[in-house]
């Protein structure tokens, strides 16, 4: 054999087009990052589908727990999930015995084919191995292993089992496999504990090709004076024809000595001459990186040609692939196809045209050849210089050129066409690259769609409920690295997560108690529905585990929320929780609970859950694992709740400081550092839009945050960070239709990170937040309770009662810094000296202060402070310039020094009107501002401005395209706000409708019958669906014609078979009674109610008697 496969190369890359470099980057950089690689590996190979769902839910819940703040059920769920997974990891790994595996990989496999493999798993230890399957350790991109769909339930100690799985190579190449892994999903089926087995093997994947239906070669057979060894065709054996006279040139060995002696002149023996067709097959491998699909197509075409030649009466004995020339001189027509496929499997692209070196070698051989088949990737210079048909033709060889599609323009990608007449063009692309590229296309498409959605979501302010599924989607894409498979788990997670979180986000508007219950209850209800969806979508034994886990999780949610709910019922302490529950039976929540219970009953009926028999293998281990799990979960939950309650205030504060909305700058966080407003003003040139407002008049001062106490260059909100909302106040959503009718005077749409703050004018009397609740901060500022307010909100401007609230001592508090206090006193004394009547009234004090600032200071953007003194001290004492923060800080403190309650406020000055759209007002970041709010005993709180007029933000509007874009952004913000408003109302409307429906059904006992009938119909439908496919009528008829004894025998067998199926030991269609008996005799007996020996004896009897002559059953 003169063919040697090259050293096993890496699988050839088949990247496409302009994405080649991107793919290269992704492929080469991701695996090198060990953390990502390990996470991806664990996600793909160690987690089961329920396990992936559990981890997804766990991550989501953890994220949601941070987002929602104090939500006990969510924290508890996170603890439960972590505990479950932890116990699973430990128990699974400890319970797994040592195993040995014998498996044989096929040496040669065609790309695209599915090859079943079987492996013998031996358990040499005494411990049994539960719920196991087998996977190959390495999973290169070109080969996919399909594990056995069902886990093998048990492998007893010191026994063997056969595991079936399949290999599906997708790309040609040589792949090495270090050995299989034995995976055990014991005890809960969430995570695979694994044992690695070293059994190195290799698979050579030959290229994918479509057989050519016909291949016409323009050459006949040619005389080959080589003798018998060149002959391969049937009927061409060298046979004696006769004698004739010697002619010069005849071989001397053919001289017939006897005949020569007899006739006296040289006579030669004549044999049948050997004619055959010798073919050279040449494939071009000169392909730049961007055109690797052409190379794959060429290789596939070459394989198809070789296959066609092997089926026809041709001999290929010269095969050139790239710069290498192979002489296939052994095996002849019997074995050369394998050799060619081996070479093609390992072929790699070359950067230089191979014809430089190959051409002369082929031309040397061309005298011997009948035909030369060239598979060229392009008709370029290198190909023209090759031993082309024209040059071969000059040497007396037949010539025919490969065809190129007529519609391929000069700039279009070169494509090869099959050289057959009559081949079906619909059967597929000749290349192996196209199917490989499909997941890649999906990858890009999913990624782009997700990115666009994510960008839109972010632009709209980052609604949590929409973001999370997208994160899950992206995580899945990254984890599967392009091998995205739309399985049920992912569909469920992606589709159900969105409405689930929407519900959680929108239903729990504010407050506690019943809403806590609602939140946990909706989660539970959604879980149960998810479980049922799984069951109905794929009613297989594999779905059973998922349904059990999801149902259990759902009920955990409900159970967790129930105490909260009971605590909200009136009089439950007196009458007891159950009586209170009964009294509130008509409550819509209970209606949902009843629905969930009905669903669960249906699910349990349909499930027939695995009831581990006391003798069932693994039952004890499972019980122990569940018990351990319960202990861990309870301890974790208890500890978590205790800790959470003990440190609630600290946690809450840390949450808002670290994760919540206060991470933003610009003076709107919990710390009003001097300079932060300045930073915001200068950010990105200050032209970025921070707040849009729609209203008849410019909103003016939009307050973001008020600060009460000053110390060392920084303002703080006050002693308490969060205040309770006034029950009687109007800082809430409108509750009645009458309230809704009232037209708002202003709609405000913050953008970006400003959406974490509620900006409102000082005169805001009522806020309408679609869906979200607000928190009240000291200084009568508001902050959204959940998420953000990017959807916009309405503000009605009116004087509200709190405009006259100035009781807090912080409004009058001076800083503790004696130097600053002294300076304040000195300054106020100077003002009084300048205008003695300044202290007579509120207005005169303010006017005197304003006059003082106007007289002494000018505006300057950015002031440097040196030395140990406080900035405000230096400003008052030394400086002649300042910016808004200094004017506002100094002014606030001086007003307090003068006896006027005052507070330092940050926000935006929104005065810029859009030139394109009426009623649209814009505040850019350069309009960030700090000002003073002072309390007037009669007029209440009002804005006081000490910053010089030239220091106020400019209001020159943008023009042209920029203005148009900004207006479009305004419309988009309004549209998004409207959508969010509608969505927030939907749960309420649905609840009302369901409540009315419940009331209608339960109002009259006459209607109960209808309800029961509906339930009965649902159960009947489910049972009818469960009874399985109907047996063929003909078979039933044949069964009816059996003699009574045989019919009885058969009926008993069918009964036994049904019982076995219910016990989880179904009979395969191709399994005979004796095979079933052997299987049952070897394993654990699954039917506790039927004696084992009797059943086995019956099966043996049935196997023989069922088919005996009718007269002698």
């Amino acid at each position: 054999m003169s063919v040697e496969a090259p050293e096993a190369p890496a699988p050839p890359d088949t990247d496409e087009g302009g994405f080649a470099s991107l793919y290269d980057f992704l492929d080469r950089s991701l695996p090198e990052r060990s953390l990502l690689r390990n996470l991806g590996y664990a996600w793909q190979h160690r987690l089961t589908v329920p396990g992936r769902g559990l981890v997804t839910v766990g991550v989501t819940v953890s994220y949601a727990a941070f987002q929602f703040g104090y939500a006990y059920p969510i924290y508890m769920l996170a603890l439960i999930l972590i505990g479950l997974l932890g116990v699973h990891l430990v128990v699974g790994q400890l319970a797994m015995p040592r195993v040995e595996v014998e498996r044989a990989l096929p040496r040669r496999v065609a790309a695209g084919a599915v090859v079943p493999l079987r492996a013998k798993v031996t358990n040499p230890s005494r411990r049994p191995l539960y719920d196991f399957t087998l996977r190959e350790l390495s999973n290169p991109r070109g080969v996919e292993f399909e594990p056995q769909p069902e886990l093998t339930p048990v492998l007893p100690g010191r026994s063997e089992a056969i595991v079936h799985y399949r290999v599906r190579p997708t790309r040609r190449g040589v792949y090495g496999f270090p050995g299989p892994r034995v995976l055990s999903a014991f005890p809960f089926g969430l995570y695979y504990a694994q044992r690695r087995v070293s059994a190195p093997g290799q698979i050579l994947v030959t290229p994918r090709f479509h057989p050519l239906e016909a291949l016409e070669l323009p050459a006949g057979r040619k005389h080959q004076p080589g003798g018998l060894e060149l002959v391969s065709q049937v009927g061409d054996s060298e046979e004696f024809i006769g004698n004739r006279e010697y002619r010069p040139g005849d071989r001397l060995r053919d001289l017939d000595q006897r005949a020569w002696a007899r006739v006296g002149r040289p006579i030669v023996r004549e044999f049948q001459q050997e004619y055959l067709t010798r073919i050279a097959l040449v494939v071009d491998t000169h392909a730049p990186k961007a055109r690797r699909d052409d190379l794959e197509a060429g290789i596939s075409l070459c394989a198809a040609v070789a296959d066609a030649l092997s089926r026809l009466e041709y001999v290929v004995d010269l095969f050139a692939a790239g710069p290498e020339l192979y002489r296939l001189q052994a095996g002849r027509s019997l074995g050369y196809l394998e050799d060619i496929l081996d070479v093609l499997a390992c072929l790699q692209a070359v950067e230089q045209s191979p014809f430089e070196t190959l051409g002369p070698q082929i031309l040397d051989e061309v005298q011997e050849l009948s035909t030369c088949v060239l598979v060229l990737l392009d008709w370029d210079e290198g190909a023209r210089a090759s031993p082309t048909p024209s040059r071969a033709g000059r040497r007396g060889q037949a010539a025919r050129r490969a065809r190129r599609p007529a519609d391929a323009g000069p700039a279009g990608p070169p494509r090869l066409q099959r050289t057959t007449a009559g081949a079906d063009p619909e059967r597929g692309h000749p290349g192996g690259a196209q199917p490989v590229s499909e997941p890649r296309a999906d990858w890009i498409a999913y990624g782009m769609v997700a990115a666009v959605l994510l960008a839109l979501t972010r632009a709209a302010g980052g609604q949590l409920a929409l973001e999370l599924p997208l994160y899950a989607l992206l995580l899945g894409l990254v984890a599967t690295r392009g091998r995205w498979r739309l399985n049920l788990g992912w569909i469920s997670v992606s589709l159900l997560l969105a409405p689930l979180l929407l519900l959680v986000n929108l239903v729990d508007v504010k407050g506690r108690g019943g809403n806590q219950f609602l939140r946990s209850f909706y989660l539970g209800y959604a879980m149960v529905e998810l479980a049922l969806l799984q069951l109905y979508a794929r009613p297989s034994p594999a779905a059973r585990g998922r349904v059990i886990y999801l149902t259990a999780a759902g009920f955990l949610f409900v159970a967790v929320g129930l105490p909260d709910y009971i605590s909200t019922l009136p009089g439950w302490r007196e009458s007891g929780p159950f009586v209170a529950l009964g009294r509130s039976a008509l409550h819509p929540h209970l209606f949902y609970a009843a629905c969930a219970g009905a669903w669960l009953l249906l699910a349990l009926t349909a499930l027939r859950p695995r009831r581990p028999d006391p003798g069932t293998p693994g039952a004890r281990g499972r019980r122990v694992a569940w018990a351990l799990c319960a202990v861990v979960v309870c301890a974790g939950a208890g500890g978590g709740i205790y800790g959470f309650r003990a440190y609630y205030s600290e946690l809450s504060e840390a949450y808002y400081r670290l994760v919540g909305n206060t991470a933003l700058g610009g003076g709107f966080s919990d710390r009003g550092d001097l300079g932060s407003v300045l930073d915001l003003q200068g950010e990105a040139g200050g032209r970025r839009i921070a707040v849009r407002a729609v209203g008849d008049v410019a909103p003016g001062y939009l307050r973001g945050r008020s600060f009460l106490t000053y110390a060392e260059g920084s303002w703080a909100p006050g002693a308490e960070s969060i205040l309770p909302l006034p029950e009687s106040g109007r800082l809430r959503r409108p509750q009645t239709d009458a309230e809704r009718v009232e037209a708002p005077s202003l709609w405000i749409y913050p953008t970006g990170e400003q959406a974490a703050v509620i900006f409102a004018p000082l005169t805001a009397g009522e806020l309408r937040l679609p869906g979200e609740a607000a928190r009240l901060l000291p200084g009568w500022c508001l902050r959204p309770y959940q998420g953000d307010v990017a959807g916009g909100y309405a503000v009605s401007q009116a004087r509200a009662p709190w405009h006259f609230e100035a009781e807090r001592p912080e409004y009058r508090a001076l800083p503790e810094d004696p130097e600053l206090v002294a300076e304040l006193e000195a300054t106020w004394a100077r003002i009084l000296d300048a205008s003695p009547d300044a202290g007579s009234s509120h207005d005169t004090r303010v006017a005197a202060l304003r006059a003082y600032f106007d007289r002494r200071y000018t505006y300057r953007f950015g002031i440097a402070f040196e030395g140990p003194s406080d900035p405000v001290t230096q400003f008052l004492r030394d400086k002649e310039h300042g910016h808004c923060e200094l004017f506002a800080s100094a002014g606030t403190l001086l007003l307090r020094q003068a006896g006027i309650p005052a507070r330092y406020t940050t926000g935006f000055l929104c005065l810029e009107g859009s030139p394109v759209r009426d009623r649209l007002w814009i505040a850019r970041t350069r309009a960030a501002h700090a000002w003073i709010e002072a309390y007037h005993p009669e007029r209440g709180w009002e804005v006081v401005e000490f910053t010089p007029t030239d220091g106020l933000p400019a209001t020159d509007p943008a023009s042209g395209g920029t203005a148009l874009l900004e207006a479009l952004g305004g419309w988009f913000s309004e549209l998004w706000g409207a959508l969010r408003g509608r969505a927030s109302e939907l749960p309420g409307r649905l609840l009302a409708a369901l409540r009315e429906l419940t009331a209608w059904f339960t109002a009259s006992p006459l209607r109960w019958g209808g309800l029961l009938a509906l339930l009965g119909l649902a159960i009947a439908w489910r049972l009818w669906r469960r009874r399985g496919p109907r047996a063929p009528r003909a078979r039933e008829a044949a069964a009816r014609e059996l003699p009574p004894a045989l019919a009885a025998l058969r009926a008993r067998f069918l009964e036994l078979e049904a019982a076995l199926r219910r016990a989880g030991v179904p009979r395969a269609p191709g399994e005979t009674a004796l095979e079933l008996r052997a299987r049952l005799a070897a394993g654990e007996w699954p039917l506790p109610e039927t004696p084992r020996e009797e059943a086995l004896e019956f099966l043996a009897r049935f196997a023989v008697e069922r088919y005996r002559p009718p007269e002698a059953p």
Binding site: R108, V114, L1054, V1104, R1108
Partner: protein, 308 residues
């Protein structure tokens, strides 16, 4: 019946160690009246098994060593000029026997292989316009070596189809191999074999087995198996009706060997791999995907529903 089978089995197991399944299959094929093709690597006892079986039956046994230069007339026999009577007379070839051992059948040219076609199918030989009846029973045991390709001519499908059963011997277990080595000092078992039955007994047994009851469901099962092989996408050629007949006969024979008076689906399943696998032709893609014919037949057996 039981004695005949027991004696044959004991005789063969004396010679071939550790291969009771293969011995049983061979006896099944003998009683089912089917020709047998033994395919395996050299040196595992194919020829010995065939010779032992021939020696166990008191009939005419001929052996032909197939070589590339073997001519059809070397097998069938030909006319030879008789100078005394100045006429041609037919001299029968080795095919005229009760048991014909065609050793290394794939070494002969297709022309010579084809000479056996008529003999195996119709029990007669036609040469120079005359037909000569072969003795009854006529039974062919052929051996071939699947490893070598050089200088061999694979059997055409038509010829393969005429073999009822294809058997592979496989290597013996280490214990049996030790036993073989230990017995080398003694006289070869093959030389000491005595015939345990006559041809008439075998013929009578074959006739009895052909009358064994096969239930309608089992017949339908056989047909369903054949249909499944013809519809199997991995097969270019399914099983022929002749294959179905062979499976039917082999199942009958196995049922008789097991001492039953009716064929059960287990008999059909047990005989299907040996009876059907060599008759099918794999698709090109399947051939190069590591799938064997036996795998496909096993899948078909697993898929086709067994009648109950």
């Amino acid at each position: 019946m039981a004695d005949l089978v027991q004696d044959l089995r004991a005789n063969l197991n004396r010679v071939i160690k550790g291969k009771p399944r293969e011995v049983d299959l061979l006896i099944t094929a003998l009683l089912g009246g089917g020709n047998v093709l033994l395919t395996d690597v050299p040196g595992v006892g194919k020829t010995t098994l065939a010779k032992a079986l021939a020696a166990s039956i008191s009939g005419v046994f001929h052996r032909v060593q197939f070589t590339p230069d073997l001519l059809p007339t070397d097998v069938t026999g030909g006319s030879v000029y008789n100078p005394k009577e100045a006429s041609f007379e037919f001299r029968p070839g080795p095919v005229f026997a009760n048991v014909l051992l065609a050793d290394e059948i794939n070494r002969a040219s297709p022309r010579t292989q084809s000479a056996l076609l008529e003999a195996m199918a119709e029990g007669q030989v036609s040469t120079e316009g005359e037909s000569h009846k072969l003795p009854d029973p006529f039974w062919v045991i052929a051996t071939q070596n699947p490893v070598e390709h050089h200088g061999t001519y694979p059997l055409p499908e038509a010829q393969l189809d005429r073999f009822a059963v294809e058997l592979a011997m496989g290597y013996p277990q280490p214990a049996q191999e030790l036993e073989i080595l230990a017995g080398l000092g003694q006289a070869p078992a093959l030389t000491t074999l005595e015939p345990v039955c006559t041809l008439a007994e075998v013929a009578a047994e074959q006739a009895r087995i052909r009358q064994l009851h096969v239930a309608q469901e089992v017949r339908e099962y056989v047909v369903a198996l054949l249909t499944a092989t013809r519809e199997e996408p991995r097969l270019a050629l399914g099983v022929s009706p002749r294959g179905g007949i062979a499976l039917y006969r082999m199942a009958q024979s196995r049922a008789a060997l097991e001492g039953r008076d009716a064929v059960i689906p287990d008999d059909v399943k047990a005989m299907a791999p040996a009876t059907l696998a060599h008759r099918v032709v794999l698709e090109t893609k399947a051939r190069y995907s590591g799938v064997s014919k036996a795998d496909v037949i096993a899948d078909v057996l697993a898929q086709v529903a067994v009648p109950v």
